[in-house]
């Protein structure tokens, strides 16, 4: 699953690092370091982390497969 965090919005509340430590970690006192591609096994935790973010900075894929992503049709 692809994800991105809007780090302008992120205020380092660290709820995500608590709920999905496999995906999110604090780096220093308030910077967030995250895996841009989460393992399928962490889908549920990731959803919880995204929902719990006080500033709603976490965007998770709404489209499951990148099926349409790369094609070269004319």
């Amino acid at each position: 699953m692809r994800l991105v965090v809007d780090l302008n919005r992120c205020q380092g509340y660290a709820q995500c690092a608590f709920l999905a430590p496999e995906v999110f970690a604090m780096h220093g006192e308030e910077a967030l370091l995250y895996h841009p591609q989460a393992d399928e096994a962490h889908r549920e935790k990731l959803a919880q982390a995204a929902a719990a973010c006080p500033v709603q900075a976490i965007l998770v894929d709404a489209v499951d497969a990148p099926a349409e992503a790369v094609s070269d049709e004319r």
């Binding site: 809007d6 370091l33 709404a62």
Partner: protein
């Protein structure tokens, strides 16, 4: 266009072409579909990859916690687009409404969005730039190649340019235990964007983390060995740095060359557009069918004296893309202006650096909270008696407050009794931005253009 049904036709069966398949292009395309655009959508990108996120390329990827091929951007919705990836746009015929591609194809449009962004400014001497071990960092391929080389454990990494990207690269290298030398032409890191007062703090941070930081020097030559591998860098102060990896981090160049001769107002500073994201042609007349968003755009901002701002910021790309998409599908009375307050972040040497407003417009700075010596502070920038920008080192939660001061053109220095303020910051001081006539790789915000109240020349580095 109003009332003649052409907009309804466009929404139902028009053709929208997006040139540039990165963050701005993707978010614009999603917004078009969200707003009910049911016509054909074509996404053109010169890289052969689906849209990916660039900030991790100088952070997570270099630290080894993510790979460069794993930074694809999440999708907000299905796009139902035709993707033309790995093929660059090479020309624009405004009269015929067609985009020419590198493979000879032409793609017709009813509305065009240009989001071609920027590319890394290469090392100026091609024969030195081509040495094995000399890198730039902008794309997924750049990041893959650099991360692979860092994983091999080079003896020393030499970073040219201590802007945000260069500093982040140095930080990641130190975290991996690699020896790093950074050469910066200015007096300190980050001075183009944040000025010398904050730059001095950034310099201390680097040195404390073991970076061999050389400021006030230029790199005069890169030297290769017989096998064509880089082996040393020569500096203007006579020093020679032995190194096996060189990262050239000299800012970015706008991808506008493909528009040369098209009649669009595009050049080295970007593509001029109005606050509604509509591109100007070279006559200064705004177009109705060509829109611009992201790093390549240059648009007037009411909060900053209607200066034309070029912002190489993640949040700007998202915001401007959404507004361009909205306006493409709207009658003129329903269009909205792009008035996003500039904001960016950087994470380096364990410190979270965030900024709002336009610090580089500031002439003075006051440390409103915390202290420079603790490396935890908010610096507030003043310009002509008003608050124009703010930067936080590990103090990010306060920034929305300062953003409001910027939005309301609050007086500078801020009159409120500041909490948590130490003696070293009580008086405004010169923010110490470098002389704009001295060449530099430049800040991530550039000011140009003209307004009735404030007409000025800005130096644009040649490239």
């Amino acid at each position: 266009m109003s009332g003649d049904g052409s907009l309804e036709w466009l929404r139902r069966e028009g053709r929208i072409v997006v040139v540039g398949a990165s963050l701005a292009g993707l978010r614009a395309a999603e917004t078009l579909r969200e707003k009910g655009f049911a016509g054909s959508l074509t996404m053109i990108g010169d890289e052969p990859y689906e849209p990916y996120d660039r900030p991790p390329l100088s952070k997570q990827v270099l630290l080894g916690v993510a790979t460069a091929d794993g930074t694809a951007l999440p999708r907000r919705r299905a796009l139902d687009a035709t993707w033309r990836l790995g093929v660059a746009a090479t020309g624009l015929d405004m009269a015929a409404g067609r985009v020419r591609l590198a493979d000879g194809d032409e793609v017709p449009y009813d509305r065009l969005l240009i989001a071609t962004g920027v590319r890394a400014r290469p090392w100026p001497r091609p024969e030195e730039a081509e040495l094995d071990g000399v890198f730039v960092l902008r794309t997924r391929d750049d990041s893959t190649a650099l991360a692979r080389r860092l994983a091999e454990g080079p003896k020393r990494v030499f970073v040219i340019g201590a802007g945000f990207t260069g500093s982040e690269i140095a930080s990641a290298c130190r975290e991996r235990g690699l020896a790093v030398t950074v050469a910066e032409r200015a007096a300190a890191p980050l001075v183009g964007a944040l000025g010398g007062v904050v730059g001095a703090v950034a310099a201390e941070l680097q040195r404390e983390h073991g970076v061999d930081l050389r400021c006030g020097v230029m790199v005069t030559a890169l030297e290769g060995d017989a096998a064509g591998r880089v082996r040393a860098a020569h500096l203007s102060d006579g020093a020679t740095i032995e190194t096996d990896v060189v990262v050239v981090s000299l800012g970015a160049t706008r991808n506008t060359e493909w528009l040369a001769g098209s009649g669009l107002g595009a050049g080295p500073r970007g593509i001029a557009c109005d606050a509604g994201c509509r591109a100007f042609d070279i006559r200064g007349i705004v177009t109705d069918d060509i829109y611009v968003a992201g790093d390549v755009a240059r648009s007037p901002h009411p909060l900053f004296g209607y200066q034309f701002l070029s912002l190489e910021h993640w949040g700007n790309a998202v915001s401007q893309a959404e507004i361009a998409a909205h306006n493409m599908l709207s009658e003129s009375a329903d269009r909205i202006p792009h008035m996003w307050v500039p904001a960016f972040w950087s994470s380096q040497f364990g410190v979270n650096i965030k900024s709002v407003g336009v610090p580089s417009m500031g002439t003075e700075i006051v440390v409103a909270q915390g202290s420079l010596t603790d490396r935890r502070f908010v610096g507030v920038y003043g310009y002509q008696g008003r608050v124009i920008g703010a930067v936080a080192f590990d103090h990010a939660r306060w920034l929305p407050f300062y953003q409001e001061l910027i939005e309301t053109t609050a007086p500078f220095p801020p009159p409120f009794p500041m909490v948590d303020r130490r003696p070293d910051g009580q008086r405004p001081m010169d923010a110490d931005f470098p002389d704009p006539s001295v060449p530099t790789h430049g800040p991530t915000v550039t000011l140009s253009g003209y307004s009735p109240a404030d007409r000025r020349m800005t130096f644009t580095p040649a490239h």
